[in-house]
Amino acid sequence: MEEHLSGEAVETQTLEDALDLYFFGDSYILSNDSRMGLLFLRPNFTMNEFFRLVEIEKIEERAAEIARVNGLSAGLTGMMVVGKDEMVTSEQGLGLSMMVAFILIILLLILVFRMKAVPLIVGLPLLLGIFWAMGLTGIVIHRLNIVTAMYMVALVGLGVDFGIHILAAYIQFRDEGMDFQPALVEAYRISGSGIITGALTTAAAFFALSFSKTEMISELGIVAGMGIICEMTAMLMMIPPLLSYRHERLIRKGKDDMNHARKIHISSTLTGGLGNFVKEQYRWIIIILLAIGILLITQTGKVQIEDNLMNMEAKGLESIELQDTLVEEFGMAADSLFVILDNPGEVSDLVDQLDDLDSVKSVDGISWFLPNRSEYQERLPLIENFQDQLNNLPPSEEVDADFLIEEIFRLEMNLIELGDMAYLSQLNRLSFELNELTGLDKDGIKTGESIFDRLTDTLSSYPAEELNSFQNLLRPLMLERLMDMANTEPISEDMLPELATESYISRDGSSYLISINPRQNPWIGDFRKILNSQVATVTDRGTGMILAADQMNDMARTDGLFSSILAVIVVFFLLLWDFRNLKLVLLTFVPLLLSLTSLFGIMALFDIKFDFVNIITIPLLIGIGIDDAVHINHRYLKEGKGKIDRVISATGTAVLLTTITTMIGFGSFIPSIMRAMRSTGIVLVIAMFLAFIYSVVLHPATLIIVREKLGWSIESWGTGSDEKK
């Protein structure tokens, strides 16, 4: 208007653009202070296309490049971006973790066994077992998920345990002066049953997970169970030929393997001392450890379950930080809930009902563009009336500048009042925009010239002829737009722009999408529960990651409990088959139960929450944790009464070593930047430590009491009186 009135030639396109801006507004979504903008990207792949998620990096790079050229900065967020970040960070973490764990374990074994060939004797079957497990996984499941990938790292720590038990026993018998072959046979005889029972109980506990409803946990059960069996088989089959190879080489080199072995005193001072201590102080050990256990049991009820999926991701991820920025600046969350409907007639009602919910910021659906029949019928007379008025508009009249100035003043007053209401209602974005329009600052004080001041000035400064000339120029363009908008023809799907149909109608045209934008970040606090339960009162057809996260947590909880019970039952029968003595089996479960309850207690004390990744600790602990007590039982049954010190000294060393290697395997998750992996590492290390203390210290002390003091029989059924031993 100013350009035209000042005598400049205004192009029709400029006028049309100005009118479009007036009618349809700005097409960008801007933040409260207009310093940030929001764009929605729709990739041509989905979250489920795991291996295409890396393509998001290309989008990130391109967005950053475009922003840089325009002097801006850009960042991406949303569940797919978080998913990609999760994949990249976990892959980075896992590769490094696996290498560190492998090197540490091999170094430890060389140091303890003082045998340079350990990397070959234990490392080769270890790798072979992992390859078998991965190969079988490929055949059976065809893929690794984040949990099974993590487990492959843990398998390094678990698989090496079988080798340690064999090597420790072999070296012990060589140390006692046996020749190569008898020492090997005796090592297999004395530790073989423990290894097989241990492997079977661990595998059984894992296989119990395969009955889980959660695909991820079920796959873990199968992969982990197969992994244990593969490792046990590889170790039992490969170690004798490898030891034999080493033995032959030493003989060829003229070295005496027996003398070499004699240098190694595997019955270390630590476990030897521990054995003596347990034998002498068994009463105090029971009292103190039981007291600690009971104390920790009292805390178990306080252990919490992490229900914020984002707390499981790496800290400082831009994609996660931007989610808070979205809520802060745009009042909306990055993740939406979705509803899919078959009947387009239901869309409008459902959109309205969902939009009324307190936890919902906005709802998008095709009804924004496509009114249903009743809405159309309701609006038709109004549109027809409007159309009539347009058709009967009198010819262009002269501009009444005074009348216009008065109307503009009224409009300005209305907008100032709206600004007051927006200010009072904390509608910051609206308040900011209205202040800009009316030239007020945040305190409501006039600080600059408003658009209305300029309009009033313009209208009062130019003669009527010039104003009339502008009106004549603008009138037909405006009328054309108004006539288009007053079209009474029913709107059908094929009239809609591609942007609308692509967003809200399925490709085959059979279903309609409603997108529900939450008011808050759904990953913080209890908001997700409020949103989900409110949406559930309107429709039971909601879907999306927000709902799936809770379902996953619920399933992990149910699955964790179910798998644990199943694992306990299977392990119980396996132990009964192995020991054939109910009392001994029940006693063997005591350290396991104490380990579990103490773990919960420690987690509660240190505010470590269970999540759907670290919940795998429970079945893992049942499977692995019971092994230590099983090995102690086997050795104690063979050594006999009064020799618990020797049992701990011999078996305890192997159990200590296996515990340390397992702790290294799981501990390698701790440096991971992914919080779920780190917490799994921490929880498993604590669990393994507890299992060691209760199995190698408390359990032998209990055996002394029940067998040697109370006279219970722990021998297998049908093998005669315990008194003879």
Partner: protein, 251 residues
């Protein structure tokens, strides 16, 4: 048959007594809010997503006339809304804008909206003046300890035909002094707000909560109303305040 009849009668009697008991408790707790000619000076602080917004200083006048509640609320701070006033008579609501000096009548549905951008709705703020006992069906759900205080736990459901915005509320009333301690408010199947009452001080024959907090769980925000001054049967409350003409005269 006789036994069944006796059991049914006893059970019905028990239900009636327990309902009576819940009504008695809420009735006693309501008494402090059923005062007339109330003058109140208070601040309203809104904390949204951890960020404190400008504190509002308000002056309110309340008067009951038959079944109708009348109230006038005047904003003294912040500067942007100083002089803005709300007049409520029964279901009608008017607002006077200080910036333009004009008066607007609000839609009656505005009463369900947030009061002054806070987490309190106009309805929440006016609820106490009528008392909960009159508006809700009540049942005593049991007893519960709240911050070391033994409380009655009472379920409140809107009476049929009521236009209440909440589908239910759970009130915690102190057993020792029959004061409201907490009210949990439910809407569309979810616990969306929690109102807590604190800093009870003597007022008339009872105790009045000088600090009321409404926390919105769906919006990650809370609002505090801190009473600075309170008078019952106050001479400051005058009939002429409750008219449009007074609203027009405010400067």
């Amino acid at each position: 048959m006789k036994k069944i009849l006796i059991i049914t009668i006893l059970f019905s009697l028990y239900l009636a007594l327990s309902a009576q008991s819940a009504a008695d408790i809420v009735d006693r707790a309501d008494q402090i809010f059923l005062q007339n000619k109330l003058y109140q000076k208070s601040t309203m602080t809104i904390v949204r997503r951890g960020k404190k917004q400008a504190v509002q200083l308000l002056e309110s006048y309340f008067q009951k006339e038959g079944a109708r509640n009348k109230s006038l609320t005047l904003f003294l701070e912040p500067r942007r809304v100083k002089g803005t006033a709300y007049l409520s008579i029964g279901d009608d609501l008017w607002v006077r804008f200080a910036s333009t000096g004009r008066i607007r009548k609000m839609s009656s549905s505005a009463k369900k909206n947030s009061a002054g951008g806070s987490d309190f709705s106009y309805s929440d703020m006016g609820e106490g003046n009528d008392g909960y006992a009159a508006k809700y069906m009540l049942s005593l759900e049991g007893e519960e300890k709240l911050d070391g205080l033994n409380c009655y736990r009472i379920l409140m459901k809107p009476r049929p035909g009521s236009s209440d915005i909440y589908e239910k509320a759970v009130a915690f009333i102190s057993k020792s002094d029959y004061s409201y301690r907490k009210i949990e408010l439910y809407e569309d199947g979810a616990h969306i707000k929690t109102m807590t009452f604190d800093d009870y001080r003597p007022l008339g024959d009872g105790l009045y909560p000088y600090l009321m907090k409404m926390e919105s769980h769906a919006r990650n925000s809370y609002s505090l109303i801190e009473t600075l001054e309170m008078e019952v049967d106050s001479s400051r409350v005058q009939d002429r305040f409750f008219s449009k003409s007074y609203l027009e005269a405010i400067r």
